[in-house]
Amino acid sequence: MKKGHDVKRYPGLSVLSFAFFLYLYAPLFVVILYSFNANRITSVWTGFSYKWYSSALNNDALMAALKTSLTVAGIATVVATTIALLAALALVRGKKVRFRKLSETVVNLPLLLPEIVLAVATLILFSLIGVQNGMLKLVIAHSAFCTPFAFLPIRARLQGMSLDFEEAAADLYASRWVVFRRVTLPLIFPGLFSGAMLAFLISMDDFITSNMLSSGGTTTLPVYIFSLIRAGTSPELNAIATMLIIGSIILATIALSIATRGQSTADQPQ
């Protein structure tokens, strides 16, 4: 291939980028590799084994933490996505909304502030008003900080969607509700879906707030993993990590492919 003089190409970039992706993924492969180590001591390789996977799957504390995390994340996702959808509709489609900028900042507030401050804040709040139910505390806090993650993709989708479709539906005798149900909702669905997905993931992943709020019965998965790490690295921990990494990859692939597929169906000329 003739190289010529491509002004947009900078020398050394591909080598650097290759190194970058290696840096991004090598640590994960190390974890995955070590999870198959037969030896109890992580760093000493003695042989290939699946045994840590079966011991992880039989770990009741792990399964309880997973259940807690899934429950909290499930509820928080529904709550946060609903709040985010309503807010996005109001902010993007509402006419003459006063304090639009302020409302937008409020919705995105969890992104602007360090999470540790928010975690401390909710801890003090719940201890002041005497909320004892650990699950309730987690659900409220998670719903709040997951909202902007659901909000941003939904808003982007709404902003990218031409008003013409909704006007055309109203022109064809559809009432507000019918316009929403039959035109707006299906067209923003990819945004709604990836927003919900993100909210779910952020909730599943959260450590700082959950660690602050969790009490005996409501240990979430990251909090449990943290306690395992404090107890020292172990091949079982590596097996758990590997399963979670694979799970994340599958979820992310599904979410992103739905989001991009949605993009291509909206490829109508303006």
Partner: protein, 304 residues
């Protein structure tokens, strides 16, 4: 007749205006209850006194803030102690260095990704995003394995004569490594987005007007991608300031940052007013950063 229709018209839009406010209500309620109100409570707690059995008692006392700078002896004498100030400085420094390293890595990588053909480009963007979908604690944990005693990196260095049983853990460098690793996708994505929007003919025009690659980079590419760089810097710097997991797991007990210090006060330390004072300090630092950036970009908008 005309009066009637005028009345109807003012009523029509009024009904519509209520709907957006109704839609925003849940967001305001949850943010107000779970975020805004608690922040005021933190401010109040930060000037309260320490409770006898942990927690706090209401009051107005700046002991929490005093403790950042002074150590109160048994007899009430004040002694200047730099340890917490050092933690604050280290936090800002580490967050700043993290942002800088992320930026240095992200700009060329984002540029390279943007120059790839369509299909490969979206795969590469996906690959940058993917680690962000993985549990943060696991990403930090991966670095504990890599840098820990007997891990791949110490083993590698042992080949070159490093002492046996070397551990690269529990220092600022380890914290930094984990921070850069966890936050870099947040820098690459916005920078990529603004580089991709860049019109390729502008680069050609710069070269056409006798600019070399370096001039083009400095005078055309970087200024035009500044918005992406700024938002990437915010996305990295703000969470880095509040980092908790990295200093706890990588830095060990000694090399604390503000986040881990706060965590400690509400966990084992049980000094809520002091923890709240540190939290307020962190909040103020973050706010200052955001305000400075907002003012600068507003100024830029005026100039343009």
């Amino acid at each position: 007749m005309t009066d009637l229709s005028a009345d109807n018209r003012t009523q029509g839009p009024k009904r519509k205006v209520n709907l957006p406010y109704l839609g925003l209500l849940p967001a305001w309620v949850i943010m107000g209850f779970a975020l805004i109100l608690p922040i005021f409570i933190i401010a109040a707690v930060s000037v309260s006194t320490r409770g006898a059995y942990g927690g706090f008692d209401w009051g107005v006392d700046f002991a929490g803030y005093r403790q950042i700078i002074f150590n109160e002896g048994w007899s009430g004498e004040m002694e200047f102690t730099p340890q917490y100030l050092l933690i604050i400085l280290r936090t800002i420094l580490l967050a700043g260095v993290t942002t800088g390293i992320c930026l240095l890595l992200a700009v060329p990588v984002a540029y390279w990704i943007a120059s790839q053909p369509g299909n490969r480009k979206s795969i590469l963007v996906f690959l940058v995003t993917l680690p962000f979908w993985m549990s943060m604690i696991l990403r930090v944990y991966a670095w504990m394995i890599i840098l820990g005693r007997g891990g791949p990196l110490p083993r590698f260095l042992e080949i070159f004569g490093a002492q046996e049983g070397l551990s690269l853990m529990y220092n600022d460098g380890a914290t930094l490594a984990a921070m850069v690793y966890t936050y870099i996708p947040l820098m690459v994505l916005p920078v990529f987005a603004s580089i991709e929007k860049l019109d390729g003919t502008l680069i050609e025009a710069a070269h056409d007007l006798y600019g070399n690659r370096w001039t083009t980079l400095r005078r055309v590419i970087l200024p035009l991608t500044a918005p992406g760089i700024v938002s990437g810097a915010i996305l990295v710097f703000v969470p880095a300031l509040g980092a908790v997991l990295e200093p706890i797991l990588m830095g060990g007990g000694k090399q604390m940052m503000m986040g881990s210090l706060i965590q400690l006060q509400f966990g084992g330390g049980r000094n809520w007013p002091f923890g709240a004072a540190i939290a307020m300090t962190l909040l103020i630092v973050v706010m200052l950063v955001l305000i400075v950036i907002a003012l600068r970009s507003a100024q830029k908008d005026r100039e343009v």
